[in-house]
């Protein structure tokens, strides 16, 4: 099918493209920009006047509890590839499970599913999972989700094994002992509200351990969901040293702090916790400078598990459909250009994954997001396709609405 997308502001951060022009798609791939390829006859023409046309968003962290609803939510949010943490039930520690997940994703035919395989069996942090088998079944990297590997020797062996095959390991830096009883950032708000705290040391000690093991094993590591200024500093030092370490931050952590807990709002409970203003600023600066990729950390939680006292509520918020508007909101506050902002959720995640994608180069898969940056909509349960209605932004107006999403040159959302 030949598709042309006309009149839109085409933004491809990786290629430094930002202009009003026409995008041409043939057989599911980008065929041309500005000038129609020879012999191109449009079978479908999409008018993107007033809209931005950018690469489909790549979300480095989204849980797909009810896979159909969540993949529909993804493309409604302009997300064309989702990286899925291995902590579903059962954990993704067997190649068959990965196979089934990828297959189901293909069947549903909306966003691409990129599963992370479990690093250890049952995510218990003890015995290795069959990494090579999982890779073969479609896993793009290996992870413990947000479960710790307490046994440092086990972590060392796992990273050595992964390095053997050149696999990347994704770890959330959170020391088990320092975080196991905590529910909020160990700061002023937790002291005042009487909430058990998770100190910044829980993150920095874990990063320091992981970085040392990277030095010793050469394993490529991606740190997920950083939360502190001190953590960012350690990341910078590791990269300055030339170590193969990358990192991301959840979009909520760029906009919210411990103060948003307010009167014990369970929607402000996250893992890792929302920290202080200084931490938020450092994360924002790091993301703006290109050091951190951005993701939604989409975690659908039912009302029964959220409308509980703060310490009992499951952490996390819905993310797939707010990733774009929240990124735009952050970019405005951080005074970034649109291409700079979009890079964080397109080319930067692609780079972390080491996969082609996140751009509109000729020959690339036609994963495209068309959105109206000026359109506003209110975040209500009805407005979301995701089963996860849990959000600290309930009732707020969002700026930025996806009109059409294409995956592999097929329209999977909108018109």
């Amino acid at each position: 099918m030949n598709i042309e997308i006309r009149n839109g502001r085409v933004v491809d951060p990786q290629a430094n493209i930002d202009r009003n022009t026409t995008l041409y798609i043939t057989d599911g791939r980008i065929a041309g920009l500005g000038e129609a390829p020879a012999g191109f006859v449009a079978g479908q023409s999409i008018d993107a006047a007033g809209c931005v046309v950018c690469p489909g968003l790549i979300d480095l962290g989204a849980r797909l509890n009810s896979i159909e609803a969540e993949l529909a939510a993804a493309v409604a949010g302009g997300v064309t590839s989702v990286v899925v943490p291995p902590d579903a039930d059962p954990p993704l520690d067997e190649p068959e499970l990965a196979d089934r997940l990828v297959h189901r994703g293909t069947e549903i035919g909306k966003a691409r599913v990129l599963p992370l395989g479990a690093l250890t069996q049952g995510l218990k942090g003890e015995r290795l999972a069959e990494l090579a088998g999982l890779k073969k079944a479609g896993c793009v990297a290996f992870s413990q989700a947000n479960k710790p590997v307490v046994d440092t020797e086990a972590l060392l062996r796992a990273m050595e094994y992964a390095a053997t095959f050149g696999f990347a390991v994704w770890l959330q830096p959170q020391d088990y002992w320092l975080s196991r009883n905590g529910i909020a950032h160990e700061g002023e708000v937790a002291s005042r509200l009487g909430l058990a705290g998770i100190p910044v040391a829980a993150e920095t000690i874990a990063i320091a351990t992981i970085v040392q093991l990277v030095r010793d094993t050469g394993c490529r590591v991606h740190l997920t969901r950083l939360s502190s200024a001190a953590g960012v500093a350690l990341l910078k030092a590791a990269r300055a040293e030339g170590l193969p370490v990358t990192a991301d931050v959840g979009v909520h952590h760029l906009l919210l702090t411990e103060n948003d807990i307010g009167f014990f709002n369970p929607h402000a409970r996250f893992c890792p916790p929302l920290r202080a203003q200084g931490d938020r600023q450092a994360l924002s600066d790091a993301a703006a400078s290109g050091l951190l990729a951005l993701c939604s950390d989409h975690t659908p939680v039912g009302a029964d598990d959220k409308l509980l006292p703060f310490g009992e509520a499951k952490p996390g918020a819905t993310g797939l459909e707010v990733l774009l508007p929240l990124t735009l909101k952050w970019a405005e506050a951080a005074k970034l250009t649109l291409p700079q902002a979009l890079a964080r959720i397109t080319s930067a995640p692609a780079e972390v994954l080491g996969l082609a994608g996140g751009n509109l180069a000729v020959g690339a898969a036609a994963d495209v997001c068309i959105f109206d940056p000026q359109a506003t909509w209110q975040l209500t349960p009805e407005a979301l396709k995701s089963r996860g209605k849990n959000s600290p932004w309930q009732g707020y107006m969002m700026s930025g609405k996806v009109k059409t999403t294409l995956v592999g040159g097929r329209v999977v959302f909108g018109s």
Partner: protein
């Protein structure tokens, strides 16, 4: 941020925390409690204020003492009192907190006295009541996790006012496990709101929250230094769970450094009063000679507690 404890006229509709309440409301509660004190001296220890109203004691955490004083207070206001020990009932069968509330509201509850192990539980309930349009149902926090125990804070202030009259000239020390103490947090907010110029926290690093200075408190690790010239000493109970090794090595070592003995008491002003929210661990945080001594006002605190709780319930129920 609008304080959910106050209605749009600034009147108290729930008591969940002392934090954020204006001084005028604290004073109103103390003054009203003074009026209730003399009822205990009468033949008929009742007034008809809450006649026909139902007070539900929802205790998710056991506490016979606190529950009993609330029950006495409610009955002296002529209310009907229902006690619910949730451990033994529906919540353990998986009913959520809010479902329990909905059921009780349907049974015409007018006021909930709630004790819960999680900080913030009363706020969840108050927000839910507002959402379902029941602004005629009130919540009184009898202790939520480590966050607040506002009626205890108020009765502690009543006690201090009774013996010392003027808050603005006092030096008050709070000693012990402030990190885990909802009483301490409530006392701190009440003392600072009522204008006490010097509030001190005394304890080992492991038992004091970080950022205590942001609440207007001076931190001391040396009890001898911290007690100097104090007018009021509030001793906190050291719970058994804390003595198991991670935070403190032993009750003995704690007592040697942070227990209130007659010698340490002598460092405070000669007319200093010693308070304790109870129940006391004799020989752990307090020496028996002090607990039974002339400066201890621990039993009067209990009597004041009933009047203060009567005041709180009558004020919120009327708004």
């Amino acid at each position: 941020m609008h304080n959910p404890q106050l209605n749009k006229h600034g009147e108290l509709i729930h008591l969940m925390s002392i934090e954020g309440l204006p001084k005028g409301i604290l004073t109103q509660i103390l003054d009203t409690a003074a009026s209730f004190m003399e009822i205990s001296a009468r033949e008929v220890k009742k007034v008809p204020l809450l006649r026909g109203k139902s007070v539900f004691n929802l205790f998710f955490e056991n506490s016979t003492r606190t529950r009993t004083t609330f029950e006495i207070a409610a009955k002296r206001l002529s209310a009907d009192v229902i006690n619910l020990d949730i451990n033994k009932s529906s919540a353990s069968k998986g009913e959520t907190l809010l479902d329990t509330i909905d059921n009780l509201v349907a049974m015409h509850a007018n006021l909930f006295v709630v004790r819960h192990a999680s900080s913030g539980a009363p706020y969840l309930i108050a927000e839910h009541l507002q959402r379902i349009g029941r602004d005629d149902v009130h919540v009184v926090n009898a202790g939520d996790g480590r966050h607040a125990h506002p009626t205890q804070g108020l009765l502690d202030m009543y006690t201090i006012r009774h013996y010392k009259k003027d808050f603005t000239q006092l030096r008050v020390a709070i000693v012990g496990d402030i990190l885990h103490s909802r009483v301490a947090r409530s006392d701190i907010h009440a003392l600072t709101t009522l204008g006490v110029p010097e509030v001190r926290a005394i304890g080992p690093e492991t038992l004091l929250p970080k950022h205590l200075d942001k609440l207007g408190v001076q931190v001391f690790h040396d009890m001898n230094e911290g007690l100097k010239d104090c007018d009021v000493i509030i001793m906190l109970r050291l719970q058994n769970e804390r003595m198991n090794g991670a935070l403190l090595p032993s009750a003995g070592e704690y007592f040697r450094h942070y227990g209130l003995t007659p010698q340490k008491l002598a460092l405070a002003k000669p007319d200093a009063i010693v308070m304790h929210p109870g129940p006391m661990n004799r020989g752990v945080e307090i020496h028996s000679a002090v607990a039974d001594g002339s400066q201890a006002v621990i039993l009067p605190q209990v009597t004041f507690g009933i009047a203060v709780r009567m005041a709180v319930m009558s004020i919120v129920a009327g708004n």
